[in-house]
Amino acid sequence: MNIPDTLYIESACRIVPGQAWKDDELIFGQAGTSTESFLVGLYKELQVNYPKWYKMDRLSQLGLLAAELLLPRTLGEAGAKPMDTAIVLSNRHSSLDTDTRFADQLADIPSPAVFVYTLPNIVIGEITIRFGIKGEQAFYLMDKPDWAFLQQVTQALFSEGQVKYCLLGWVDLFQENYEAVMFLVSANAGGGESRKIMNTKNLYQYHEQGAVN
């Protein structure tokens, strides 16, 4: 088994109210609009053209757009096979945004299409369908991003020798508050020099500052 000593941040993205960043570049800005308006605006800006996106709940829409910022349309272009790529995501509000919508419908006939999104890990499922990912997956609930823990989980996945890429991140949405921070991590030692080493300091720094020194 080839256990990598070092993991690298191939790319990172950050979506905060009104702004979407890839690495340290502002990709899309739309201040003062609702969560829906911003998500639709970013969807159009990225030219995603995936009609199923409109059927998703807002948490899955946010997670899919973050993945769209990071990943090539097919992972094969990056040299990854479906089983090579893992996904580790986390958030604070679970699927509460959709849970409350579903609860509001209970007096009438609730929508099955809303019900299927009343779990936070469905966002992972939507990303795997879109990008053909079939590797290990995990979703953690935590009060705030614990990058030290998430880094350990990611290291453990790579140490088992099955994973070459991991999509690691925080995807949180409730009402008008939303935030996504996602990293594409690899063990590829032969990548570009601009990449940063994946460690707790760099993960926190990108999350808080939008750049890694």
Binding site: P51, Y54, K55, D108, I109, S111, P112, A113, V116
Partner: protein, 89 residues
């Protein structure tokens, strides 16, 4: 509402209920298949259609086995609504 009017009404309801943002009523032909080819609906959409029939047209699909035949196209849904309402009255 006659069959043609019902079909037009159904097209609008389906687009709204299933959130088919890039589809217009003119894109849906009465005999086009709704699942797989055609509109490409999936199993969750089938459940949404059952809810739609109950909420908007007060019609229940009593036997799940009838689903594939009833939901074959917008035209077959209209025929099902008309036949069920005729049975009731």
């Amino acid at each position: 509402m006659n069959r043609e009017q019902l079909i037009e009404d159904l097209k609008g309801q389906i687009i709204e209920q299933l959130n088919l943002q890039q589809v217009t009523p003119a894109d849906i032909k009465a005999d086009d298949p709704l699942f797989n080819e055609g509109l490409g609906l999936d199993s969750i959409d089938a459940l949404e259609l059952i809810v739609l029939l109950q909420q908007k047209y007060s019609v229940k699909l009593a036997n799940a086995e009838d689903g594939p035949k009833v939901f074959q196209s917008v035209g077959s849904i209209a025929d099902f609504i008309i036949a069920t309402k005729a049975e009731k009255s």
